[in-house]
Amino acid sequence: AKSGMGADFIMSASIVDVYSLSCPASAPFFGYFGAAAAMFLANLGAAYGTAKSGVGISGMGVSRPDLVMKALIPVVMAGVVGIYGLIIAVIISTKIKAPSMDNGTMRPQYTLFAGASHLAAGLAGGFSGLAAGMAIGVVGDIGTRALGQQPKLFVGMILILIFAEALGLYGLIVALIFSASPTGTCAE
């Protein structure tokens, strides 16, 4: 599916600008930026969660090396937040339609409404992933350090981490709902 313009354009006649206010040429910017924001914001959250819990685990592991494998759970949950961002970004990217060549003119296929809804989806999912990752990081850091001193805290730490992970899940659900909204069609 070519979206660039090549020699075909030169050979056509009767060139018309069919971009309209409902399907402007700038609509894909918002959609793609939503996908990008979902990915890199969720990645920021996942990176924060991984690094902060990793520091706690490294500190705890010096005195209790036997508990390190159990303490890796916050790291896995932070990785899952990154995957939420990946899912949202891929779903949005595949819904953005390139303009198609039709009888000598390039017709847009992507409405501004769709661009706005995909931007909203990406920002919702991305910032929620950031929030979840930050929560997982802080809880994982201090939770693993406390786990090293009191192994009975394991279940309590997991429960708190699950609530933190749920925030990312809320963002994923809302992002999927936004990106599934009906987008309308461009004028013929």
Binding site: P24, S26, Y32, A36, M39, A47, G54, P65
Partner: protein
Amino acid sequence: SERSPPGSCSSLDTMAHANMNAMFPSGGFFDDWLILFEGISPYALADVGIGISIGVSVLGAAWGIFTTGSSLVGAAIKAPRIRSKNLISVIFCEAVAIYGVIIAIILSTKMGTPEDYPANTAADCQSPALLKATWPRLPGDGAACQGSLYMKNLLFAAYAIFNSGLTVGFSNLFCGICVGITGSGCALADAQNGTLFVKILIIEIFGSALGLFGVIVGIIMSSPAFIK
């Protein structure tokens, strides 16, 4: 391009004058603020995206390398045995920079040059006022005015390439910082207890997966687009 005559600077006059006389490289007129996104040359936007993908990725790799490297040499003062094993943390950070280079090369192969840009040769394609009179059709059915709309159709590809570079660059930035911090913890823990190295390395592997997520999304985003 024509300018407003001196003394005619009321805002309404300027808007009307801009409407008639401002034609953007993408073939649009100033009708609403969305033209701000359409007014940037698609070649420039895509090239900035490529620059971001490699520049910001390398920034993340560098950040990670100095974080982990400084802890490594500090901890190795009292435990020199950790030197060679913990270089793997530095390599994980370097991989982040390699991801940025790969995506930058892939995106730059999608770039064409404006040599194919059809020139506006006819006299009635030079004046924005005449173009505006027949818009959305081009004067003379556009046989000699193809350049007026050429750029607008490149914008889709430019947006895809720019945002793909943005995704990859910033994902790799955060991944590099994460792997650096975790690698620092790994070196310090390894210096105190040698059995901890492999366990803390698992955390670094989770961290470096984040850069891969960014690369995957970047490739999926940019695959339907090219600017030729």
